[in-house]
């Protein structure tokens, strides 16, 4: 099936041409999120489900029942917390497969009927690429998390040191402001690490697919390194373009979360129709965020494809060594 794929030209890579891929990713994410929510939901249902108002009592002003629930000595709290954390971590790793599939879907097309436009790769084919690229993608996730964590950690230490050094001289407020700005700079740096990792993911997915099309094979580690190499090339050549392309979408995503908060405040959603409305609103926000993420990844794939294409062109232009 992979053989039917054709790499798209960078200018043709658009998230909007892959709505089904976006929906599949959203559904995969929703399914896992439901799994993550299951322990806490089961616990809430066991404790409060028999109340005529159900768990709505947890959200009454004053929060007495909420405090009773969370602050109680119920052994379930530990079990639920651990199970939720494990599911979250496993889910984050497992989601590298749909991520790889999405990237493959964004990067390639297959021939349409004669005379018609190229079509999206089959879901099965994209999924196959996602599975093939899993180890490289998971490796990138681990590396990215470590690198981002280190950057934020160093930022925390630096801001703490600034706090100790300046608080006597500048006062708490000014020192705190400097500390926040410093920490924000490090968080921004961590975001740039994230951008590089996304570019590397795009490179890995594309390389994995191209290798399969050529019938060649390479280890996950090799693919990961190739992905990182191309990501750094992109950053060297198009740092501003890449960061801006990620940044505006990230800002819109955050705004959407804010809108979700405002909607939740307005609707309340303790139960019945209002809760259904809130669920729809929240899911609409999640879909929009997935679409924004896909849009950014499409841009990342385009930047990566441009670099990879240029490299291939250079390689092809080099004269063959005389025998």
């Amino acid at each position: 099936m992979i053989s039917e794929l054709t790499p798209l030209a960078p200018s043709d890579i658009r998230a909007r041409t892959r709505p089904l891929a976006i929906v599949y990713v959203y559904l995969a994410e929703l399914a896992w999120a439901l799994l993550i929510a299951t322990p806490v939901h089961a616990w809430a249902r066991r404790v409060w489900g028999n109340h005529p108002d159900g768990d709505a009592v947890l959200w009454l002003p004053g929060g007495r029942d909420l405090l009773t629930w969370i602050g109680g000595e119920d052994a379930a709290l530990g079990v639920v917390s651990r199970a939720t954390l494990v599911l979250l971590v496993v889910g984050t790793v497992a989601m590298q497969v749909p991520l790889g599939a999405l990237l493959a879907s964004l990067s390639f097309s297959r021939e349409g009927f004669p005379g018609s436009a190229p079509r999206s790769p089959r879901a099965r084919t994209a999924l196959h690429v996602g599975i093939s690229a899993f180890w490289s993608m998971a490796g990138l996730l681990v590396l990215g998390t470590i690198a981002g964590g280190l950057v934020v950690g160093v930022g925390s230490l630096a801001s703490s040191a600034v706090d100790h050094a300046l608080s006597d001289r500048l006062g708490d407020a000014r020192t705190f402001q400097i500390r926040v700005v410093l920490l924000a700079l490090f968080v921004l740096l961590a975001c740039i690490v994230g951008v590089i990792v996304d570019l590397a993911r795009a490179g890995v997915a594309r390389e994995t697919c191209l290798a399969a099309m050529r019938g060649s094979s390479a280890s996950g580690w090799t693919m990961l390194l190739r992905g990182l190499r191309v990501a750094f090339s992109v950053i060297r050549r198009s740092f501003r373009t890449a960061v801006l392309a990620w940044a505006w979408r990230a800002v819109v995503s955050l705004v959407l979360v804010g809108i979700g908060y405002v909607i939740a405040q307005a609707i309340g959603g303790k139960g019945g129709t209002m809760l259904l409305l809130l669920w729809i609103a929240h899911q609409a926000i999640v879909v929009a965020r997935v679409a924004l993420r896909a849009s950014w990844l499409a841009r990342a794939v385009g930047l990566v494809a441009a670099v990879q294409n240029a490299r291939e062109a250079i390689a092809e232009a080099q004269p063959t060594e005389p025998g």
Binding site: A44, Q265, G269, G271
Partner: protein, 664 residues
Amino acid sequence: MELRALARCVAVVLIAGAAAGLPLRPSAAQSGPPAPSAPSAPNVAMAEHAERVVDYTLRAKLDPALHTVHGEGTITWRNVSRASVSELWLHLYLNAFKNQSSVFMRAPIGGFRGSVVPKEWGTIDVRKLTWLDGAEKRDLWSTVELRRKDDDDETDAHVPLPRAVSPGETMTLEVEWDDKLPAIVERTGFDGSFHMVAQWFPKIAKLEADGTFAHFPFHHLGEFYSDYGSYDVTVDVPEAFTVGATGPATEAKVEGGRRIERHVQSDIHDFAWTAWDKFVTKKETIDGVACTILYPPSYEGHAERELATMRFALPYYGARYGKYPYGVLTLVHPPASAPEAGGMEYPTLITTGSPWFTPNGANFPEIVTIHEFGHQYFYGLLGSHETKWPFLDEGLNSYAETDAMRAWKGPSNAIDLLGLGIGDVESQAERARHSVHDDRVAQPAYAFGTGTAYGALVYSRTDALLETLRRVYGDAAMQQMMGAYARRFRFQHPVPQDFISTVQRELGNDAGELVRASLFDKGWVDFKIEAMSSHVVRAPAGLFDVGGKRETVPADRETAGKYAGWVLVIKRGTLTVPVEIELIADDGTKTRVPWDGASESMRVPYSGTSPLHSAVVDPDKRILLDQDPTNDFATAPGRSGGGAPRTLERATYWAQLLMSAVSP
């Protein structure tokens, strides 16, 4: 630390019911915990002044580089007991920080403030203690017993007198001493150039009516107990320093590079002061009281929040507990590096605190401020023995705090942020729930095994108890009771029985017993719906003679549209609290049934036109003492409750957001 006209009507009905010995029976229109009614003054006489027992005329000179205070002056003390006194006891509480042999330092207590070893030790060294006995000057310090046998604590000094002091006789003492302030610990000390000077002078222990002294070493969990009197204190600090002190500054001058301020205040039982060269000052007269707030640079936002708190609290507390009798109030917001100095009360001076970035909606500065201000009443004006009966100041004051916060900010008065609404009293009740069986509430501070139990029981359990009383007996009745207690015992030294008697008098014997058992007997209560049943009403089967004819009524003949059932509610624990049970039918009809809570269980009968769906004990959440609110409800067999759809929706959404933060 921790709403109007209709509630007043409700409360009147409830009081009338309670007074008549009737079980509590609010109508459906009165559902929900009672809202605070507008404060009104109980018709109880209130002393204008305290009995003047001891006057301190002192002069204190601060060396901010060495963190020392040199003090000198006179103490005039009157034997107001009915017995001759042949000894004095002096509290030298700065010696609590002298070494690790002090009672304070060696107490194996964690879980509360002051649990760290100070970075610099603190001491108080008395240089002179002379009795001006007529023309004769008698040196008392040479015979002092600073320590007990096998005890290195030096906070409680015994001073034998060369002759007895008769009842009514006054003695004048000349005193001189040197303080070395500790690095900030347990409310006192220094941090850089910030100085919080408390428990800093030799202080005569409280004289009891029988001629004995209520003296005690400074304990980790204990606070203070003193006689009322007048303080005339002159504070001498470098010119660049700003001073905040108990009482108004009657004189202030700058002389030879020194700032010298004289503060005079009567009807108080302690004196504290602070000095810092970085204080920013803001002043405002609120409800006739000159309020001064001293705060670190750039804490303008906090200063405004704390002043706003006082704009609410001064008139509110005045109406509830009697007018604040002093002309001044100083609020001190310590620097962030000295949080141990924050959250403390002294007469007319309180310390607040919270981080600079505390957002609006996280009402911690407001709670700390209102709590410490409340101590002007429950410690300042009602001078109970804080170490022996800590619930009388911290417990009652915690109730005053949560009551005021609710009246001011509504039910979500502790946190109202990002959709999360948490009440001060609810968090206190939750904290208390975990320590109910551990210890008695009414016991000396030093008898508590841990600081956690002390905090949970003294502060939180007392608060939950009194809030339960308020919700059960009504806001107006509670206001009357607390107001009567605060007024009747103003400028006195009330003991637990004074409070319990007031509860009995104002709310009835049942309430008095509830309070007594909760405080002294580790009283607890847990209501639980044990079982319930609902069925169609069936006509009795058999042969019946009706109108001269014999009719056979077959079994299982249903009575159209009639259902019956019952709910079995059990009460676990030792307390008797009236409560309501709400029965909810399938068609949504709700019926409230009152229960006096005196027996161990009650089978609540049900009859209606629809099957019984569910039942809830204490539907208005009045009983904050309820040990386990998760067993207060049940659904009938075959019926289901509301489930947990909102938790599922929220948890799913948050999981989606979390996952997308890392990858799609």
